[in-house]
Amino acid sequence: MEVFFAMGKYAAYVWPAYGVSVIGLVVATVLTLSAHRRAKNKLAALESAR
């Protein structure tokens, strides 16, 4: 396990690269889904108010 986390001697480069990528993609997914939900709710409210 320790060997795995050490990544040869490159832990300081490999893990930040994966960390930034995961954070970036997860944040983009969450923002995209929440904007979609908001738009859906807004349209539903407008349509039921008519």
């Binding site: 490999v14 997914t29 889904l33 979609h36």
Partner: protein
């Protein structure tokens, strides 16, 4: 009648994308899981050691960043020439995703460059043209925000996207045209890939995962924009 015609295409898009989205997102999730597993169990490269693991997220991000720009440019062309009602929605929704993947490619590349080249950044042709890609995305988004009238904003942004297309072949061929630290094409070359299968599989799966994730997010963003436009036209109708 005119409004029915305009809504025909977005309606068809909503139906089609609603059918495709579950499949795309499942493929994205499965290939990312499999790609990460194979990537982390792959042996260290004989030259690059474990930094080769950065390749599995760097190359797919760069690939999606460039593909996204190409798609954005095609959509921009369709919005200028055909006035397709979905085209500028598609182009506008792609830009922030393109900017994200470009930034990820630059950051992971920089973290790969430090241990292999001894520098986080060098002003060579591949890196500089890729940085320009990021600025093109950001400029495109800024232009959309700067012009209030939606039709004029769409036109101006579409023209910028089309002008920026010249950067794509520059990125692609920069490694052949100039002396650069960045390595040349090693996958889609005549004579077959130069990468061993144990690295090619995780790379391919991650590329598939990144691509299908991009298309899933892009579709959801286009759907969101369609819903928002419907809400806006309802509000104008009520006022």
């Amino acid at each position: 009648m005119a409004s029915i015609f305009e809504f025909a295409n977005p309606t068809r898009f909503m139906k089609l994308s609603g059918m495709l989205l579950p499949w795309l997102s499942v493929i994205a999730a499965l290939s990312l899981i499999a790609g990460l597993y194979l990537g982390f169990t792959a042996p260290p490269d004989y030259q690059q050691g474990d930094t080769v693991k950065i390749m599995f997220i760097h190359v797919p991000a760069a690939w999606v960043a460039m593909m996204c720009y190409g798609l954005m440019a095609v959509a921009s062309l369709l919005s200028l020439v055909n006035r397709h009602p979905l085209a500028d929605v598609a182009a506008k929704s792609a830009a922030p995703l393109g900017a994200l993947f470009t930034a990820l490619a630059l950051i992971t590349g920089s973290l790969w460059g430090k241990p292999m080249w001894g520098a986080y950044w060098v002003w060579d042709a591949r890196l500089t043209s890729f940085l320009l890609l990021l600025f093109l995305y950001l400029g495109y988004m800024a232009l959309w925000n700067a012009i209030e009238d939606e039709t004029r904003a769409a036109r101006a942004a579409a023209i910028l996207a089309l002008v920026g297309v010249v950067n794509l072949p520059i990125i692609e061929f920069s490694v052949d045209w100039w002396n650069t630290l960045h390595q040349g094409e090693s996958i889609l070359r005549s004579g077959g890939p130069l990468i061993a299968g144990v690295f090619l599989w995780p790379l391919g799966l991650m590329a598939l995962g990144y691509t299908t994730l991009f298309f899933s997010l892009w579709m959801i963003r286009v759907r969101t924009e369609i819903l928002n436009r419907r809400a806006r036209s309802l509000m104008m109708g009520n006022a």
